[in-house]
């Protein structure tokens, strides 16, 4: 549904995107994460046809971005980070205006999907940030688009509202939509996403299925604390093991992601003993996305 190749974008000489590559497959939920100011909104604006990249190639919903005349030609649903409406229009009027038909039934349906059915006759000028975000989601759904790009759909909402939006996102996926959304709330990504893309230093540093990223398919992550310094040759040897995917050096030891073959602990122990490393603790766990994210952001 989305292919982005080598997207560059700067603002006033400051490089924000420095060769972004992305692949969003049909029917999946793609979580787009990155620190504040990483360029998530910048990327999504480009993908929605609202701003032009300085360089690179994008294909969105089957259309070459450089060839479209109007953002609307992409036929996607887009929720901006800060959805703006005309304050003098009611929620219902807003949706009818966006759908370009007078169809109160459908507009009411959309409003109740996002939990705004009680506010259909209220002017959007009086809406709270969270209500605007809900209306924005309804607006993104107004065209029955196959692809939805949502910029921080859950960020302005209370925990209950967030859960509701995440359920809605899952529901939309069931209905055959493809959804990409950005967020800095990692637990939201963990709950619903199929694929995660992490934006860092202007590139998508990691783009993997969530299961793979969390090591669920590949087995466990081992956390080993060592007495004394970690030797270079120890790291090299560990990396050389066939079951090891990656090794990170941490403050008081190492962290090893493995591929799920049997007797991994034995293999790891073997190397440690061979190198006469003093093991203070040794345990295996499933990493949280938060941890993976922090690792990606800070360690590399």
């Amino acid at each position: 549904m989305i292919t982005a190749r080598d997207i560059h974008k700067s603002f006033g000489g400051i490089k924000v995107l420095n060769g972004v590559n992305m692949n969003v497959r049909e029917g999946e939920i793609y979580g787009f994460i990155g620190q504040n100011g990483a360029g998530k909104t910048t990327t999504l604006d480009i993908l929605a046809g609202l701003s032009r990249p300085d360089g690179g190639f994008c294909r969105v919903n089957g259309k070459d971005l450089s060839l479209i005349g109007y953002p609307g030609d992409l036929e996607i649903g887009y929720l901006p980070e800060e959805p703006k409406f005309y304050p003098w229009m009611t929620a219902l009027e807003t949706l009818e205006y966006l759908m370009d038909v007078r169809d109160p039934k459908k507009a009411q349906n959309l409003l109740s999907m996002v939990g705004l059915e009680k506010s259909e006759k209220c002017r959007t000028g009086g809406f709270s940030r969270g209500m605007k975000q809900r209306l924005g989601i309804a607006a993104a759904l107004a065209r029955d688009s196959k692809l939805l790009i949502l910029d921080e759909p859950s960020s302005a909402l209370d925990p209950e509202g967030r859960a509701h939006v995440l359920d809605l996102i899952l529901e939309l996926k069931e209905m055959g939509r493809t959804i990409i959304f950005s967020t800095h709330i990692l637990s939201d990504v963990e709950r619903v996403c199929d694929t995660v893309g992490i934006l860092r230093d202007g590139v998508v540093a990691v783009e993997k299925p969530l299961r793979e990223l969390k090591g669920l398919d590949d087995g466990w992550v081992y956390e080993i604390s060592l007495e004394g310094k970690v030797g270079k040759d120890l790291l090299v040897k560990l990396k050389g093991l066939s079951c090891v995917i990656d090794v990170w050096e941490k403050k008081e030891g190492i962290r090893i992601s493995t591929n799920g073959s049997s007797f991994i602990a034995l293999d790891l122990m073997g190397v440690l003993v061979e190198n006469q490393a003093g093991v203070a603790s040794f345990h295996k766990e499933r990493p949280s996305l938060e941890e993976i994210f922090l690792q990606e952001v800070s360690l590399k």
Binding site: P80, K84, F85, M89, Y97, A142
Partner: protein, 257 residues
């Protein structure tokens, strides 16, 4: 297009723009004859002292025609300012506040957005001009006496309306270029007065928009709409300016910060 026009109409009525425009022009329409009939003679009387009010009235030689000509002069000077600044945010604000992002993503076209504004506010401006010109006609007729036929007065109102639509197109073009409401308003006024100034230097007033107001203040009996020389150039200008606003929109990006 229908929903876009409904949206503009809702804006005009709910934001108070319609009331402001109608109110301002009706105020001019009523106050101008009132001014000439009572207030000015009163001021002159206190200033000149010994001269009687009858003599002053005779001296000023005021009637319906003079009052209406003065009103049309006010339309050019004050009316242009009122229209420029009450509508300066029509496009500029929507761009600068990112109001257009969701409509654009929902499939609205630039031509539709601008076209709806021209149609709805063009209608409103035309309507306001005709109503207030007729109001000043009736009121000045009551205060002085009816010297002018109603037909030319309607024509005068239509010509003023077209002139205001020209201002509207300038507002939209500058809005798309400058993207800030108040500066767009000033740019519009500069364009309007600048064209008038150049027109009078080169003796071309007849062919420029402000020539419509010169034509509008004639109000001679049997006057018809002078289409080719005066209206046509302005209509062509309105279309060209509107199209350039649309073209400018095509070049914009929609991530204002």
């Amino acid at each position: 297009m229908r929903t876009s026009m409904a949206k503009e109409w809702a804006y005009a009525t709910r934001s108070g723009r319609l009331v402001v425009l109608l109110g301002s022009f009706l105020f001019l329409a009523i106050s101008t004859p009132l001014m000439y009939k009572y207030i000015l003679p009163m001021i002159l009387e206190t200033q000149l002292g010994q001269v009687s009010s009858e003599e002053i009235a005779a001296m000023m030689n005021m009637g319906q025609r003079e009052s209406m000509e003065s009103y049309i002069g006010d339309v050019f000077e004050i009316g242009s300012i009122v229209v420029s600044f009450s509508l300066c945010g029509l496009l500029a604000q929507e761009i600068s506040e990112n109001n257009l992002v969701i409509p654009l993503c929902s499939g609205k076209r630039y031509g539709e957005i601008i076209g709806a504004k021209i149609l709805v506010f063009g209608f409103i401006l035309g309507f306001v001009q005709i109503i207030s010109t007729f109001a000043t006609y009736v009121y000045s007729g009551v205060l002085f006496s009816f010297e002018i036929d109603a037909g030319p007065v309607i024509i005068s109102g239509i010509l003023q309306g077209i002139y205001m639509i020209f201002i509207l197109s300038c507002i939209l073009m500058w809005g798309a270029i400058i993207k800030r409401p108040i500066p767009s308003g000033f740019a519009t006024l500069a364009t309007v007065y600048g064209m008038h100034f150049l027109g009078s230097i080169f003796n071309m007033e007849k062919y420029i928009p402000s020539g419509l107001l010169i034509e509008a203040s004639k109000m001679s009996s049997g006057q018809t709409l002078e289409v080719t020389s005066t209206i046509l150039p302005t209509i062509v200008l309105i279309v060209a300016i509107t199209l350039s606003a649309v073209a400018r929109m095509k070049g914009l990006t929609w991530n204002e910060r």
